[in-house]
Amino acid sequence: MSYVGTIGEKEVKIGVQEAGVGRYRVTIDGQEHMVDACQVMSTVWSVLYGTTSFEVDVQGKDEEFEVLISGDCYKFTLMNEQRKALMRAGGKGSVGKAMLTSPMPGKVVKLLVAEGEEVKADQGVIVVEAMKMENELKTAVTGKVKEIFVKEGEIVESGAKLLLVE
C-alpha cells in the first residue's frame, strides 16, 4: 500500500508491506526499514526497529497524526496515495482547514466575530471555557466568516463545529 506524508513542508512517499506475522517492510522515499510492530494498548504500539525497542503512541484523526515517542511529539499528515490524488484533482485541499472545531468539550463564553466579518489567519474568533480556563481559539485562514454554528453560553462537545471561514 502506498501513502503520501507531509512532514513540515516536505512531502514523502511511503510504502508498507507485510513481511511475516507482525513484521513490516516500510519504505520512506525509497529507503527500506524493517520493523516488528504490535498494538499493545489502545493507541500504543510496541515497535522493534531492528532490535531497538520503542513505545509509540499514535494518535490520529483523519489523516493528521500526532505521535509520541519518549516525550517528543511528531506531527505530520499521512494519507492514502489514491485519496491524495483525488484531493489534488478536486483542488479542495484547504477547505477543511477553514472549519473551526472545538478541540475539547466546554462552554462557549464569547464570540469575538460576527457572520460576514473579515478575519485574518491567527486572529482570535471565539472563547471557549473548559476546566476553569478560558481559551481563545484562532482561525487558521484569512477570509470571511461564512457561518457561526454556536451561541454564547452553549455547551459544546469535543470536535463540535464552531464557525466556518472561507
Partner: protein
C-alpha cells in the same frame, strides 16, 4: 479520635485523605456531583453522598450541602483538601457554629493570612522578614524617593488597590522614578479610581521556596524543611522538590524558625505553608502563608517520612503532634511532577475526556497520587489534574533519573497530558544543574525546546503508516467476512531468522 470524617473535595486530594482515614481506621464520607458518580474518590471511600449538579458552584462549593451531609452521616470532622472551601473563613465559621471540627486552622488564622496587608503586618511584627517597602500608601514624590533610596533600587511601585498586574511599575534607577510614579498613579486612577501607591523592593530572578509547618493546639510547632517551587508555568507551580539546591543548612534553620514564628503569630493549628521569595544572595522574604494542605505536600512526606495528612487529623482531634523538631530530618531527595490533562504541544490547552488506556509507573522510589482510572472520563467542570507523580532518590541526580524513568513508563491515552512536558524538563541542562528561577519555564525553557532536534521521526512515520495500513486492511476484510478479524487467539511469533536481521 474521630470515627468518621467527611471529605469536602474530589479527585486525587480526596483520595489522599481517604487513604489516610483508611490507614487510621476512620470511616470516610465522600461527596459527589452529577459528573462524579464514577469518580475514584466515590469508589474508594466508605460512604458517598450525592450533592448536586456538576458545576462546583452548585455542589462542592455549597456550604449548606456539605454541612447537611456531615449532619446526616454523623461525621465529626470535615477535611477540605485544597481549593474549593479550603481557605474560606465563612466555611470555618459555619463549621464552628455547627460544632463540626474543620480540619485546618481557625477562621481567625485564615482571615489574617488571607489578607495580603494584614498578613504582612502580622508576620513582620513576629520578626519574619518581608519584602522591604511600605504597605501604607505614600503621599508625596519625595517620600517615595526617600523610601526607594532607603531600600535600594530596583523597586516596584504597586497600586494599593491593585490586582491582576495593573498599576505595577518596575523602576530600575533613580532617574526613572518620577515619570514612573506619575504613570503608575494615572494607571491606578483609571483602573481602580484610587491613585494611591506603595513601594516595594523588586526581587530580581527570585526563586520560590516554601516551608511546610505543622502546629497543634498545645503550642507545639515543627517545620518539615523546605520545598523548591520555582518551576512554574504562568505563575503556576508544575514541578516541586525537596530539598532546594540553593538552601544552605543555616538558611534552612533560619527559614524554618521564622515560618514557625509566623504560624505562632496566628496560633496556627494543622498543616500550613509559608512561601518565600529568595534573591540571588540567598536573602529570603515572606510572600504569603497558605492555610491548608498543599498540592505538593508529598515531596515533604517522602523525604521526612511524616504523613502530613495523618498529622492534620491527629491535631484536629486534639492530640499532640507525633513528632518533635529534633526527630525529623530530610533523607534523600524527592521531586513531584503535576500531571494535567492538557496538551503541552498546543500551548497547554485543557484536554478533558475519556481515558482509553492507562499504565502507571512503579518500581523503587516512585509514588503516584492519581485521581483517575482506565475507562474514567475526566469531567470538564474541574481542575484537569490527573495525578501527582513523585520520585525519590538518595540524591537529586538519582531523583531526576528516576523521575525521567517513571515518566517514560507512564502511559495515558485518550487525553493529552503534560507527561511529555515533564520528560523534556527532566532532560533540560539548566534544570539538571539546578540553575533556574520562577521565569525559567516561560522565558528560557520553551525557547531552548524549539531549537532541539527530534531523533525518531522515522519510527513515528513508520508506525503511523503501519496503523493506517492495518486499519485499511481490516476494513477491507470486514467487508468480505463479518466475523473473526481483529482477534488473535494466541499470538505466535514467527521464527524465520532471515527477516529479523534486515532493517
Amino acid at each position: 479520635m474521630f470515627k468518621k470524617i467527611l471529605i469536602a473535595n474530589r479527585g486525587e486530594i480526596a483520595i489522599r485523605v481517604v487513604r489516610a482515614c483508611r490507614e487510621m481506621g476512620i470511616r470516610s464520607v465522600a461527596v459527589f456531583s452529577e459528573a462524579d458518580r464514577r469518580a475514584l474518590h466515590v469508589r474508594y471511600s466508605d460512604e458517598a453522598h450525592f450533592i448536586g449538579p456538576s458545576p462546583a458552584s452548585e455542589s462542592y462549593l455549597v456550604i449548606d450541602k456539605i454541612i447537611d451531609v456531615a449532619r446526616k452521616s454523623d461525621a465529626e470532622a470535615i477535611h477540605p483538601g485544597y481549593g474549593f472551601l479550603a481557605e474560606n473563613p465563612r466555611f470555618a465559621d459555619r463549621c464552628e457554629k455547627e460544632k463540626i471540627k474543620l480540619i485546618g486552622p481557625s477562621a481567625y488564622a485564615m482571615r489574617t493570612m488571607g489578607s495580603k496587608t494584614l498578613a504582612r503586618k502580622t508576620v513582620q511584627a513576629a520578626g519574619v522578614p518581608v519584602v522591604p517597602g511600605t504597605v501604607e500608601p505614600i503621599a508625596s514624590e519625595e517620600e517615595v524617593l526617600r523610601v526607594a533610596r532607603e531600600i535600594g533600587f530596583p523597586v516596584m511601585l504597586k497600586a494599593t488597590a491593585g490586582g491582576g498586574g495593573k498599576g505595577l511599575r518596575l523602576v530600575r534607577e533613580e532617574e526613572e522614578l518620577r515619570s514612573s510614579l506619575r504613570m503608575a498613579k494615572s494607571e491606578a486612577k483609571s483602573a481602580f479610581s484610587d491613585d494611591s501607591v506603595y513601594v516595594e523592593k523588586y526581587i530580581e530572578n527570585p526563586r520560590h521556596v516554601e516551608i511546610q509547618i505543622l502546629g497543634d493546639g498545645h503550642g507545639n510547632y515543627v517545620h518539615l524543611f523546605e520545598r523548591e517551587c520555582s518551576i512554574q508555568r504562568r505563575h503556576q507551580k508544575v514541578i516541586e522538590e525537596s530539598p532546594s539546591v540553593i538552601v544552605t543548612p543555616a538558611m534552612r534553620a533560619a527559614m524554618g524558625k521564622v515560618a514557625i514564628e509566623a504560624a505562632r503569630a496566628v496560633k496556627y493549628e494543622g498543616a500550613g505553608t509559608c512561601e518565600f521569595l529568595v534573591d540571588r544572595n540567598r536573602n529570603f522574604f515572606f510572600l504569603e502563608m497558605n492555610t491548608r494542605l498543599q498540592v505538593e505536600h508529598p515531596v515533604t512526606e517522602r523525604v521526612t517520612g511524616v504523613d502530613i495528612v495523618k498529622e492534620q487529623i491527629l491535631v484536629a482531634a486534639g492530640e499532640k503532634l507525633s513528632i518533635r523538631q529534633d526527630n525529623v530530618s530530610q533523607a534523600g531527595h524527592a521531586i513531584e511532577c503535576r500531571i494535567y490533562a492538557e496538551d503541552p504541544d498546543r500551548n497547554f490547552f485543557p484536554c478533558p475526556g475519556l481515558i482509553t488506556s492507562l499504565r502507571t509507573p512503579g518500581g523503587p522510589g516512585v509514588r503516584d497520587d492519581s485521581g483517575v482510572y482506565e475507562g474514567f472520563e475526566i469531567p470538564i467542570y474541574y481542575d484537569p489534574i490527573i495525578s501527582k507523580l513523585v520520585a525519590w532518590g538518595k540524591d537529586r541526580t538519582e531523583a531526576i533519573a528516576r523521575m525521567k524513568r517513571a515518566l517514560t513508563e507512564y502511559v495515558v491515552t485518550g487525553v493529552k497530558t503534560t507527561i511529555p512536558f515533564h520528560i523534556r524538563v527532566m532532560n533540560n541542562r539548566h534544570f539538571i544543574e539546578g540553575n533556574f528561577d520562577t521565569d525559567f519555564i516561560d522565558k528560557v525553557f520553551f525557547k531552548e525546546e524549539q531549537e532541539r532536534e527530534l531523533k525518531h521521526g522515522d519510527v513515528a512515520v513508520i508506525t503511523a503508516a503501519i496503523q493506517l495500513f492495518l486499519g485499511e486492511r481490516k476494513r477491507a476484510m470486514a467487508q468480505k467476512s463479518v466475523e473473526g478479524e481483529g482477534q488473535v487467539s494466541m499470538w505466535k511469533y514467527s521464527t524465520r531468522p532471515g527477516i529479523r536481521k534486515l532493517g
